[in-house]
Amino acid sequence: MTLLDYYADSFKPIQNSPLYTLIGGIKAFNFDKGLPEEGADLSDHVGIGDHVGTQTFLEAFVNNGLSNFVQTSNDDLMYELFIAAVILKKPLLFLNNPLTILNSQHGSANAMNVWQENFNCTEHKARVLDSIEKFIGNNKGMNRLSENILIIIDELFSNALFNAPVDDNGYPIFKNMERDEKVKYPGNKNARIFAVHTQHDLFIGTIDPWGSIDRDHISNILHRAYSERKVTEDSKGAGFGLRMMLDRARSLYILSQHRERSLVCCHMRLNISLKKIENVPKQLHINCFG
């Protein structure tokens, strides 16, 4: 079945737009009707379901090639399905315009308050954290979430600096170094870290110039973080930085254009309790292409 089969009435207002073609043809796998069969290929599906546990849909990411999951309990369901469709079918469009697309809820753009910093070495971390603390301090709606925001920024920074860089043959450069070692991107490369908020939403992310994310590897790391609860001993990282991000967000978007650039971005709702942030069923979108 397709998304159109499930949500025909909701899509009627857009049936004359290119979005209709984009969304309507996408296959949907409904977790409310049961779990995927072993060996089923869901790589071109969007997973949907009501309050599906993170570990449950991550198993489908690992075992069935699923790369997009949307919770039907999401109060912005059509928006999230639209995002899933763009990531699945037009990943380059998303990578070129992530904030414009993410900010397109309710059919209109909301005024955005933007923070961003470039970085390329360990010495930049203190500047980045000090800068985001000032940004949080200047925006009342984020004060209560400051601890969560700092944790997400810290994990994004560390991943972009240590895990992203690869050499000309695609081998990781810094991944096996201790995280307190001093490293610097080779060449003139820089990554960008950003936080963008509207009245109700906050998007935090990084764009790095490496394009080295492997879809299967990331899916396995996340699945292990949720199923085993142990620090990893087979790498220098702890193995649950991504989980720490997703636990504090409602959606995580991971896109990587091979050997070009990668985007890792969290979406949080503002003006809600920490309890609601933690309790909101999670959504995940991954596309590594090119």
Partner: protein
């Protein structure tokens, strides 16, 4: 953001007390801690400002080493902020088996008034274990208006899970 610091002393009860301050991150180094502990060690997390996954890993690895070297050592944790409690619940090995949490923080929030506060839960006052069962009392917190009050701003069945007898 303050750097990681551990201050070690003998407290008024003649127990080793370790005050952990600043960021528990990739620079958190427990190598400076002298291994000559009393039979019970008190860890005060009250001044921990920030934590990341690498800091959590360093802590877990250090705890593993210490408990392997001193299997009868008792750990007492006090003034644990939410960031630490979250790791106690999420990461296997964060809380050593021979440990007790003497006090920890619980955020409260009133959605109507957008007001928040933090309360300290203390063993023997808000919680205890009796006959193998956890007894937990969640105190009320007023927010200044008569018609509403603050609630614990945590998912209770997750947040208090570390208190359950193991």
């Amino acid at each position: 953001m303050a750097g990681f610091k551990v201050t070690q002393k003998i407290d008024d009860n003649m127990k080793t007390r370790l005050q952990i301050e600043g960021a528990m991150d990739e620079h958190s180094d427990y190598g400076s801690i002298e291994a000559e502990f009393t039979d019970e060690v008190v860890f005060d997390f009250g001044d921990v400002s920030h934590i990341n996954s690498t800091g959590i890993k360093h802590w877990v690895q250090w705890v593993e080493k210490i408990t392997a070297d001193r299997p009868h050592l008792r750990f007492v944790f006090i003034n644990c902020p939410k960031a630490i409690v979250d790791q106690m619940n999420m990461v296997e090995g964060f809380l050593p088996s021979n440990s007790k949490v003497q006090s920890f923080k619980v955020p409260y929030y009133c959605e109507t008034c957008d007001k928040d506060t933090v309360c300290t839960f203390v063993a023997g006052r808000e919680y205890s274990v009796e006959n193998g069962q956890l007894q937990l009392t969640i105190p009320d917190q007023k927010c200044g208006r008569d018609d509403c009050e603050m609630e614990p701003d945590v998912v209770e069945q997750k947040y208090f899970r570390f208190l359950k007898p193991r």
